[in-house]
């Protein structure tokens, strides 16, 4: 029996403790807590009453443990007791996936996100949706600039100058600062492209930079070719802004007659070497990537290493034609040796350049120059009685012809042959991962914060939320895994090429592995050029709205008829 006089303090403490415990006792086993509390009045000894209450707390601990363990078997948003709990099994509008399965699936997806490869895949995929081509984003650009300022490292400044999308002034200042700190980096002027109007698919280089490069590397043909290109590009821009009614060939003739252009091209064709500076760009990026762990900024690598094409192609083509014309004149004048020398010049130049620059654009321009030269040179050699040389040339000529017939596959890595489908898949998987992630968040929100909703009422939101909680985590894991698997070979290829010495093949491998996520199949480009415009957009919108209106009208009419028939 209750004896409040024996130990009022101990009993009060035990009573209060048990009452407090009952407040936090899990609903499904709370009656056991009440049972424990009800016994307190029967205990006489103060020590025993406290021990009883302590035992009650141990039971509370067990009850909570069981509550937590069992709660993992229930889906998210479903309480242990109440109307929702009893309806889980048969209600379509409630999630049925146990929460431990949901959590495991989500944890696996999150774990995947913590791997660098996946992050890079996701980053590339999201960027590809935005820009189409790799572009150094705001965060990595800022990071690079801040890091360069902090470390005063000329290599980082050089990478920033080449890769940033900011203004011309910013690019040139960064380049100048990098070269001032390390004069051997002067070659970056051949890679720092300005935001001015592009010509021949490439943005121009800076005139001052080219001048500095000519001075620093006089034996190299590239600076002279870039200088000649600047003259050509200016003439083309002038002609485009105010087209000469006499036609395109007149501005080309003007360029041909420009003594500066002639001098630059002559110097380039006679120069003892051609260095595209791709190896230096590769080593620069590799060195910085190792030191600063740039692997999380793959777009920097893509911008640095992507072989953007052979800029001076038009000038090379024009100068080769000019040399052949000079050779023809010499041949007509009976100066056969001089004519042969002039015909040989484009061939020798092309071979010198192609040892260094294996890009498709360079191949097209230079092999074309070589092929055209052979067409002149072979008959001349036969005329000169050098039959053996002419026969050897015939073999080369036919192999070149075959090469042209096979095609060069401009944008080889971007189209449907390899990179395009990979790029499309990465883009789509990235979008799917994003949408499923959003579905999980929305589904969780509906059931975690919407328990008050009555499951008996037919609410589409609950149905969608239930579907999201049941299927989205699994699909998210599958999509994330697929994205990882699709991207993994690319990153392995990239890492492999980054670990071996530079060679002309490296550019192709790196370009493919780094740029493939940004590619799209050729049909897409055809489709987008044909149909993705304002006219077709309006057409689709109007047709879509019309179909919706027709459907709503038909449904209303059907209901009216049905109601009348029922009446």
């Amino acid at each position: 029996m209750r004896n409040a006089q024996t130990a009022p303090f101990a009993r009060r403490v035990a009573d209060s403790a048990m009452r407090a415990a009952l407040h936090v006792w899990p609903e499904e086993s709370r009656r056991w807590g009440r049972a424990l509390q009800a016994e307190l009045d029967e205990i006489e000894s103060p020590v025993a009453v406290l021990r009883w209450a302590m035992g009650g707390f141990m039971v509370l601990g067990r009850a909570w443990w069981n509550h937590v363990v069992h709660s993992w078997r229930r889906p998210f948003g479903i309480p242990a007791e109440g109307p929702l709990a009893s309806k889980v099994a048969e209600a379509k509008r409630l999630p049925r996936m146990p929460r431990f399965v949901t959590v495991l699936l989500l944890a696996a997806s999150v774990a995947l996100f913590f791997t660098r490869d996946f992050r890079q895949a996701f980053s590339a995929g999201t960027q590809a949706w935005g820009a189409g081509l790799p572009r150094v984003d705001y965060d990595s650009g800022n990071w690079l600039r801040a890091k360069a300022n902090q470390t005063h490292d000329p290599e980082l400044l050089a990478i920033y100058a080449i890769t940033t999308w900011r203004s011309n002034d910013e690019r040139l200042q960064a380049a100048a600062e990098a070269v001032r700190r390390d004069p051997s980096l002067v070659w970056i002027y051949s890679k720092v492209r300005l935001l001015d109007e592009p010509c021949c698919g490439l943005h121009p280089v800076s005139k001052e930079g080219v001048a500095a490069l000519e001075k620093a590397d006089p034996d190299n043909a590239l600076p002279r070719l870039l200088a000649a290109s600047l003259i050509y590009e200016k003439a083309e821009r002038d002609w485009s802004s105010k087209p000469d009614p006499r036609g395109e060939f007149d501005y080309k003739r003007l360029v041909e007659q420009n003594p500066e252009w002639q001098a630059a091209m002559n110097y380039a064709f006679q120069a003892p070497k051609f260095d595209s500076y791709q190896a230096q760009a590769f080593e620069l990026y590799r060195s910085a990537a190792r030191r600063y762990d740039l692997a999380d900024y793959p777009e920097l690598g893509v911008r640095m290493l992507r072989n953007a094409g052979f800029g001076p192609g038009s000038s090379v083509g024009m100068y080769s034609d000019w040399l052949l014309t000079q050779g023809e004149s010499a041949e007509k004048a009976g100066k056969l040796d001089q004519a042969a020398d002039l015909y040989w010049e484009p061939v020798l130049f092309a071979q010198r350049v192609l040892q260094q620059d294996g890009s498709d654009t360079a191949n097209w321009w230079l092999l074309n120059a070589e092929r055209t030269s052979f067409q002149k040179l072979r008959p001349l050699l036969l005329k000169m009685g050098r039959k053996d040389e002419a026969e050897a040339m015939a073999y080369q000529q036919s192999s070149l012809q075959a090469r042209f017939e096979r095609g060069f596959g401009n944008n080889y890595y971007w189209d449907e042959y390899q990179g395009g489908w990979t790029g499309l898949m990465i883009r789509c998987l990235c979008a799917i991962v994003f949408l499923l992630g959003a579905a999980v968040v929305v589904g969780f929100g509906i059931f975690a914060f919407g328990r008050w909703r009555n499951p008996d009422s037919p609410q589409k939101v609950l149905g969608a939320g239930a579907a999201a909680m049941d299927y989205a985590p699994l699909l998210l894991l599958l999509a994330s895994g697929a994205l990882f698997v699709v991207f993994r070979p690319l990153i392995l290829t990239y890492n492999r090429y980054m670990s071996v010495p530079w060679s002309s093949d490296t550019a192709r491998g790196l370009e493919f592995s780094a740029a493939a996520p940004y590619g799209m199949p050729m049909w897409y480009y055809g489709f987008s050029a044909k149909y993705l415009n304002a006219y077709h957009g309006w057409m689709v919108l109007i047709i879509g709205l019309s179909v919706m209106a027709a459907y709503i009208l038909a449904r209303g009419t059907m209901r009216t008829w049905r109601d009348r028939a029922a009446a």
Binding site: R2, A35, A38, E39, W52, G55, V59, R62
Partner: protein, 103 residues
């Protein structure tokens, strides 16, 4: 049932106490005093026995004013049969020695 009871010496003690007067309702504190098992051990045993449907529980009639209704326990028919069998088996393998009663 999906749940298997771990027949510990304490559980056997509780079963033994409940079998002393099989049809009689018992209170938690009296069981605790009889078996010397503290509440932190006794109640989980009772909870598991109830979950196995071998223990009947009820709240006593509120006859005594000023005191909350107490929870009462007794073994049902299945529970009695199972408990008798378990106690016999435990005794046979000398796992448990009865203190209060012989079954």
């Amino acid at each position: 049932m999906g749940i298997r009871l771990r027949v510990s010496p304490q559980t056997l003690c509780v079963l033994d106490a409940l079998l002393e007067h099989p049809g009689q309702w018992r209170h938690g504190y009296s069981l605790s005093r009889q078996t010397s098992i503290p509440s932190g051990t006794l109640y989980p045993i009772l909870m598991r026995l109830e979950k196995l449907h071998w223990l009947e529980t009820r709240w006593e009639e509120p006859g005594n004013l000023g005191r909350p209704a107490r929870h009462q326990y007794r073994l049902n028919g299945n529970g009695c049969a199972w408990a008798t069998q378990e106690l016999r088996a435990a005794r046979a393998r000398k796992f448990w020695k009865p203190v209060y009663s012989e079954v």
